[in-house]
């Protein structure tokens, strides 16, 4: 394995599921392809119901995907037996949005944090206790926390516990599903800083699922924008924010309320809502809300086009740029 | 043949003298009475109805060749104008009353008699009375399904029925007075099929006017009844689903005339003590015995000493007290009202000490453990507990198994299941007032089979022979001797003590002041709770 090889490669991943009483499946993740290098942070951003959480879970086989390939360190996760997959899990961990719901409330924090060590048989009791103290310290918790229970902690501290558990086995990849959305603003920044620091210290790679573009801008190396189960734009963070190509990305970025008071300028206000994922629009899924809508948009699904400005790499799924690529 | 004539003359004399004439002069016609019952009336099909409630109802809706004099156990012809018995006791010839009409207007003829009895015997009818008629010639063929015709019944003309028996049977006339031998019109039976029991058509004193299932039954007078002076009443209304307690209150208020279920036991003491009701309560004996069976095939009851010890251990007075003295203590299988009852027999006295000695003698000085089965309807579990305490006093630890009727009966019918059964609730009330009725199924060898009713599994060859002999003494002249023989049989049985007879239930009927009639009509041994035909009202 060379360093050039991506840590994780998601190829044409699909996750469809049936909702009671509906005939057609919801195509929550519909042919998504992504790749992630070692030590990199890839953000997947989109509005609620766009399938970003499902993507995260399907990629790690927390929920079984419908089809596709997920190549993690050269091995297709989807081909692994359950047993081997379980063993593999120590190299990839998950952080959940709701820090309270994702911790077993009947377990003391110490047991929660060392549980991955126990599951994967890492070390003996003594060494695990040592590790526990290191971990608690690492995420900024008091060592006495080990004997206490999740309900005795605040939201931010709970998220720290979740993070400590996730990094306990020193994984290569952490998938974080909206890890700060449920937290207060002043706590969010603490956790974001913690995540960045851990990434540096432990040379982690993140897949960061969020709807908060400001956070994305701050934390990511690369950003994938998702809309109704499809990645519509994928680029480096600076490139994406400075040169958003897809009309949806443009609208999204412009819709962010800015603190920088005087900067709030022209804003693109999208009309309508995100359509029902079980019955997505034909052609380009964004076309009913798009301000640059063309005839072709409702008929043909746009191809993934690779563009680049200033040599940076950038893909977009939009008919607007079909001509551009031909040039 | 001569004797036949004597019988006939005697009977005609009977008819002409007191019972009917007395009744004829007594009371006036008219009025309707209301009777309450808690439980549904099951069926009014004479071939099928076999519980104390519908038994007497059927008697008033239908008639048979024979009947009993009201309020007594004396046989009397009913539809038969006269009858004669051959010397060998095998041929019975009945002359039918003429002009008797079914409720549907058709005249009753001899072939109806034949049809009705054949119907009862036919297995398809599923009559619980079928087995009574096994002495009629051809019975076995009908049971086996070979034919539907009973060889032993001939109708030489429209008014004559001749029965031929395969063996003499002294109880045959009684059997013809049973409901199972009552006459039904073929066309109605065929019209209603299995539902005939809900649409009874007979030739009795009353006819059915309306039956609201689960609510009420209404009868009206049969104007064509073959005894023109009966019935006295214009109609009878049965209200169904009435709690005895409620019924009593309603009677006290004058809304109800007769308590079909009798005075509720719980209220008995109060009502009985109230002088106000003295004239409204009638007490009488019943052909009933309550007893404990001991399975003579199961240890330790295979030892007669043990059985005698049980007999001596039970404080029957206390048991009777527990049911508020609504019974008299029994010491033999037959009830006092039954011919053959031995008033001089002293039975086993209540003597726990001697009982203990007997047990010790039998090898159980410390007693033993056993089971006492009982039906789970009050007061039976209480009675069982009272006896249980008595038994415990002599060292017998009896576990009480109280179950619903079905399982108890089933256990009794197995040779090795129920060591002791308290018969209450399932106890023997005689079908007809003859001692033989207390022997066959419940104490005879024939009943000591799987599924049989001889729960003591008692089978004594010697007694069996005596019983066979007694039953064949059908000559009326031998009647007395026959009864003596039965008396001897039952006392002999008591020597083996397969049963512990406990008490004979007394019947208490309460009626409203407006209902009149001889006291015996209200405690009629065969018409429970009253003889509907003969009472009258005076407002």
């Amino acid at each position: 394995m060379t360093d050039r090889e991506p840590l994780l490669e998601i190829i044409d991943l699909n996750k469809h599921f049936y909702v009671k009483g509906q005939q057609r499946p919801v195509r929550a993740v519909d042919g998504v392809s992504l790749e992630l290098n070692r030590g990199e942070t890839l953000s997947v951003v989109g509005e609620s119901g766009c399938g970003k959480s499902t993507l995260a879970r399907a990629a790690l086989r927390i929920h079984e995907p419908t089809s596709g390939r997920v190549i993690f360190k050269g091995q297709d996760l989807l081909n692994l037996s359950r047993k081997r997959l379980r063993a593999k899990r120590k190299e990839m961990q998950f952080i959940f949005q709701d820090p309270y719901a994702s911790l077993d409330t009947r377990w003391p924090v110490g047991s929660i944090v060392t549980e991955p060590l126990v599951i994967h048989g890492a070390g003996d009791y003594r060494s695990r206790q040592k590790k526990l103290h290191e971990l608690l310290e690492l995420v900024g918790l008091d060592p006495t926390a080990a004997n206490r229970y999740p309900h005795e902690f605040s939201g931010g501290q709970r998220q720290r516990i979740g993070i400590a558990r996730a990094v306990a086995l020193e994984p290569d990849l952490i998938v974080a599903d909206e890890p700060v959305s449920a937290l207060d603003v002043s706590i969010q920044s603490q956790i974001i800083n913690l995540l960045i620091r851990l990434k540096q210290d432990l040379s982690l790679a993140y897949i960061f699922i969020t709807h908060d573009l400001a956070v994305v801008k701050h934390i990511s190396d690369r950003v994938a924008v998702m809309y109704l189960g499809v990645i519509i734009e994928f680029a480096g963070v600076e490139e994406l924010f400075s040169n958003p190509l897809h009309p949806y990305t443009q609208a999204l970025i412009s819709a962010i309320p800015r603190i920088d008071y005087r900067q709030s300028g022209r804003r693109i206000v999208l009309t309508g809502d995100v359509p029902d994922p079980s019955d997505p629009p034909s052609g380009c899924r964004f076309h009913p809300r798009c301000i640059h809508r063309m005839d072709i948009c409702s008929q043909e699904q746009p191809q993934t086009l690779t563009l680049g400005s200033n040599g940076s790499w950038h893909t977009v799924n939009c008919h607007l740029y079909t001509d551009a690529i031909n040039l | 043949m001569q004797r036949n004539w004597i019988v006939l003359v005697l009977l005609v004399g009977f008819i002409m003298t007191w019972p009917w004439s007395a009744v004829a002069g007594e009371g006036k016609k008219g009025g309707t009475i209301t009777i309450t019952y808690k439980d549904d009336v099951v069926t009014l099909d004479p071939a099928i109805g076999y519980d104390w409630q519908n038994w007497s109802m059927i008697k008033s809706l239908f008639s048979g060749l024979m009947d009993y004099e009201p309020g007594t156990t004396a046989l009397t012809p009913d539809l038969a104008e006269s009858y004669s018995v051959s010397d060998d006791g095998l041929i019975y010839t009945f002359k039918l009353r003429s002009g008797v009409k079914f409720h549907n207007g058709r005249e009753l003829v001899a072939s109806d008699v034949k049809y009705s009895i054949e119907r009862t015997v036919n297995p398809e009818t599923q009559s619980p009375g079928q087995g009574f008629y096994n002495m009629i010639k051809g019975f076995d063929d009908v049971v086996a399904g070979k034919t539907e015709r009973l060889e032993g019944i001939e109708t030489s003309d429209e008014q004559t029925v001749v029965f031929e028996l395969s063996r003499p049977d002294a109880t045959f006339l009684h059997l013809l007075a049973l409901n199972f031998a009552f006459i039904v019109p073929k066309e109605e039976v065929e019209k209603w099929g299995a539902d005939f029991g809900k649409h009874p058509v007979g030739s009795g004193a009353f006819k059915l006017k309306e039956w609201k299932l689960g609510q009420s039954i209404e009868w009206v007078r049969n104007p064509d009844y073959h005894f023109p002076d009966r019935p006295k009443l214009d109609g009878v209304i049965f209200e169904i689903g009435q709690e005895p307690t409620v019924a009593l209150m309603r009677l006290q208020r004058g809304e109800v005339d007769i308590l079909g279920d009798g005075i509720p036991p719980a209220r008995f003491v109060q009502i009985k003590n109230d002088p106000k009701y003295k004239d409204q309560i009638v007490e009488g004996g019943q052909l009933h015995t309550g007893y404990v069976t001991m399975n003579v095939r199961m240890e330790p009851f295979d030892d007669a000493r043990v059985r005698k010890a049980v007999n001596m251990a039970i404080n029957k007075d206390r048991v009777v007290k527990i049911i508020n003295n609504r019974a008299v203590v029994a010491n033999q299988p037959l009830p006092p009202a039954m011919p053959g009852y031995d008033p001089d027999y002293e039975g086993y006295p209540y003597d726990p000490e001697q009982a203990k000695d007997l047990l010790a003698e039998a090898g159980y000085p410390d007693g033993f453990e056993t089971e006492l089965w009982t039906m789970n309807v009050d007061p039976n579990p209480r009675i069982a507990q009272s006896m249980q305490q008595n038994l415990a006093a002599i060292g017998i630890k009896a576990d009480i198994l109280n179950q619903s009727q079905g399982p108890v009966i089933a256990a009794g019918g197995e040779p090795d299941q129920a060591p002791m059964i308290w018969s209450g609730g399932m106890a023997w009330i005689a079908d007809y007032p003859d001692p033989s009725n207390f022997y066959g199924p419940i104490l005879g060898c024939g009943g000591a089979v799987k599924g049989g009713w001889n729960w003591a599994w008692y089978c004594n060859e010697e007694i069996e022979k005596m019983a066979t002999k007694a039953d064949s003494m059908s000559d009326p002249a031998q009647a007395e001797k026959r009864i003596d023989l039965w008396r001897e049989i039952f006392i002999k049985i008591m020597d083996d003590a397969p049963w512990a007879p406990i008490f004979n239930e007394q019947r208490f009927t309460m009626h409203s002041p407006r209902v009149k009639g001889k006291p015996s009509y209200f405690v009629d041994p065969v018409h429970i709770p009253i003889n509907y035909e003969n009472i009258y009202v005076e407002d």
Binding site: - | A194, V246, S404, Q405, G451
Partner: protein
Amino acid sequence: MFLFLAKRFGASGLIVIGITFITFLLSYFIPADPVRMLAGRSATQETVESIRHQLGLDQPLPVQYLKYLGRLVQGDLGRSYKQKTQVAELIASRMPATLKLLVGAIFFEVLFGIPAGIFAASRRGRKADNLAMIASFVGVSAPQFVVGLLLLWVFAYKMALYPLGGYGGLSHLILPAVTLGITGGGWYSRMMRSSMVDVLQQDYIRTARAKGVRESAVVLVHGLRNAVLPVIAMIGMDIGFFMSWTVVVESVYGWPGIGQLTWQSIQVIDTPVIMGVTLVAALAIVIGNFMADLIMPLIDPRLRVR
């Protein structure tokens, strides 16, 4: 909607069949021989066998059951061993009484349970709430036969306000209906309370208040319509509950309904009637649930889709 109902109906049918099967099995294992009881004491062995054969009871259990189902499909519930009447006719004759009792009991339950629950919920945490809830628990904990006997003693015997049991008009109905409904009333008030407490904490209740809706209307219009749903589902299930408790209440009051019929039939192992009665009870449960399924979408539009 139609498909949904059809599915529910199918599932219900399966449940009914399952129930008949279990009942059949149970009645088979009850150690009593209905034929013996039918044939009477004087019956010969041949007669017993012949009756057994006529009733088909000499056949293997599965055959008996399948035949039973076959007859059932034709609407034939069989004939009572004991009463020789069509079971359907017997049940039909008892049905009005039981239905009266059921309606009376449900009426009582709803009449007291729901207002008590609403009242307690709207005074949550106060004395009135506590009292109402203890009262409801007394209702739940009181054995029906004791309640029945005590009501009879007090209201019928001592005060002579009502008849001492028996079947008849409204005055006869009140005590049995109260007795049968008292448990349910207790449950409903508790359910209503907890459901209402939940609902009153919902955002839309705050919205209603913010709109200036009168407090009584907030509770009775906005709250009730949402809070009553679980109670309706419960009433649906209750009809089945009642079918078994009628055995007790009808026996206490001498009410000539299905319960008495059941009890009588069990006493003599009248299998066809027992089967019929269980079937009716199961159907009652199924119908109750089904009606709840029908009624609930009328109240909650969210249940109308599909």
